[in-house]
Amino acid sequence: MIPLSWYLLFAAALFCIGLFGVLSRKNAVAILMGIELMLNAVNVNLIAFWRYLAPAGIAGQAFAIMVFAVAAAEVAVGLALIISVYRRRDTVAADEIDMLKW
């Protein structure tokens, strides 16, 4: 029997790895991948909590569905933005896209 703690620790680890990716990768696409990992960690938590704490309810699953939708939308728009940036600046390295400072 798998205790809840396993899932929670797994999700925490996945989240931290994703966060590391977001903070450390140069390539903007890779940053998006990190975000996907984080979203997945959240989803694992949602489903695990649903299954362990409230198996009769549906709130956890419903939230997970929303996360799916948001993830899909986020990737679509994010990648479109990245491609658009690439067309203009010829690079997708996050630390080269630093026009923000002026």
Partner: protein, 169 residues
């Protein structure tokens, strides 16, 4: 250890290793492929959580759509198909420290929670998770509005993505 635990353990390790490779791999295409493996591992965990629908949806949405988009994007945003040089930026050690500290903090907080190690309860009798979920998503006094909003969001994202990446004449 019972077989389920073994399966969990195997796939959790695979997933975490794959995830780690996602954020460290030199080649971005490899990164994307590792991402697929990690997402597949998560799908297996969904099965272990009695959420078959989510497993199928995970494979369909993440592997079938999102990961392929990633591969596409990786290939579209480069001149050379091979990646050269480090893919980490200058602050990566700080980021690593932060991630580890965060995990430690989470572990610390979680471990002091009373139901941290609770065993899996049986599914309540007569509950059909899938059809309950489906009905809840279209029931006006449950999640109809968020569900519709999600679909609107997807349409908006689609239009936005097309607009943003359109080559304007």
């Amino acid at each position: 250890m019972d077989p389920l635990q073994i399966i969990f353990f195997i796939f959790a390790v695979i997933t975490l290793v794959a995830a780690f490779l996602v954020v460290t791999a030199k080649s971005l295409v490899h990164s994307a492929l590792w991402l697929i493996l990690a997402l597949f591992g998560v799908a297996v965990l969904y099965v272990l959580l009695d959420a078959g629908f989510f497993a199928a949806a995970q494979v369909l949405i993440y592997i079938g759509a999102i990961a392929i988009l990633f591969i596409f994007a990786v290939m579209l945003t480069r001149k050379d198909l091979r990646d050269a040089g480090s893919q980490q930026n200058g602050t990566w050690p700080l980021a690593a420290v932060l991630a580890v500290v965060l995990f430690a903090g989470l572990f610390f907080i979680l471990s002091s929670w009373s139901s941290f190690g609770m065993p899996k309860p049986d599914m309540p009798a007569g509950a059909n998770a899938l059809s309950d979920l489906g009905l809840a998503l279209v029931s006006a006094n449950a999640y109809l509005l968020p569900f519709e909003l999600a679909s609107v969001l997807l349409v908006a994202a689609m239009i936005g993505a097309i607009y943003v990446s359109l080559i304007k004449k």
